[in-house]
Amino acid sequence: MSESTVEALSCQELVELVTAYLEGALSAEEHARFEQHLSGCGPCQVYVEQMRTTIRLAGRLTADAIPPEAEQELIETFRSWKRR
């Protein structure tokens, strides 16, 4: 944990800034405060890593395959449009 000074970020504040941090949406000053806290706080490092893991795993979810009937219906729609 970092020294608790007036300007320092607390863990509770940090967890609310993780998405903005990962999106590069923090101001230069906020970004510096974020990283300053993070560099000295093991549990927050674990937390940020878990957020990254969550994002990575969500990207592995596969979209539901299109049922054959729906696919057929779409092709029919496309064909009838072609004949317009």
Binding site: S4, S10, C44, L61
Partner: protein
């Protein structure tokens, strides 16, 4: 979308069309579901949207990306349909995230603000997740469930950003969200999904 693909589509190339369907159909249904909620209705809306897209193809000038244009058709049709069905999903709720604060982590897990030494620091720290369990199908199933349980707008944003891999800008365009609100919704969604995984690994 490439100009070449667009030309193929205009000339009625079925392969080009089906490639497009496979790429976008799942996301189109998810976006429609924000407004109409029921899966079968969302599927109808998407069918209608494809038809609308064919009809508009010749007028599509490429000023926005094809994807943006296609999803605008979906959202417009889905909204019309929602209104017709008397579903009063407040679209404003999508633009203005709930004003009730939703903390990313339960406040009880932090020391109180008048703690003499570490105010607002972890009382109950997160612990590292077991690497070997991360990719098990059960972990992925928990993520799927957690996303399904989110409020409509949060579910839409996390699905498009993290599952479908869209950029923030694309999501803002498709859902007509400001950058800030997109980020707030994404943050709430990701935080809840992380929480669900944590509970699962702590079981």
């Amino acid at each position: 979308m490439e100009l070449r693909e667009l030309d193929a589509l205009r000339s009625g190339d079925e392969e080009a069309f089906m490639a497009l369907v496979r790429r976008h159909q799942a996301a189109m249904i998810r976006v429609a579901q924000i407004y109409v909620s029921r899966r079968d209705v969302a599927e109808e809306v998407v069918q209608e949207a494809w038809l609308g897209a064919f009809r508009g193809l010749d007028r599509f000038e490429g000023r926005s990306s094809f994807k943006t244009w296609l999803f605008r058709i979906v959202t417009n049709l889905a909204k019309t349909r929602a209104v017709r069905e008397g579903r009063t999903i407040p679209f404003s709720a999508l633009r203005t995230p709930e004003s009730v604060p939703e903390p990313a982590v339960e406040p009880e897990r932090f020391r109180s603000w008048d703690d003499p030494r570490w105010p607002g620091h972890w009382a109950s720290k997160p612990t590292e997740w077991p690497e070997h369990r991360l990719l098990e199908s059960e972990s992925l199933a928990r993520i799927d469930e957690a996303i399904a349980a989110l409020p409509d707008s949060q579910r839409a944003v996390i699905t498009l950003r993290d599952v479908e891999g869209w950029s923030a800008e694309e999501v803002c365009n498709a859902l007509e969200l400001s950058e800030t609100n997109q980020r707030v919704l994404l943050h709430r969604a990701r935080s809840k999904v992380r929480g669900a995984l944590e509970r699962y690994f702590d079981e």
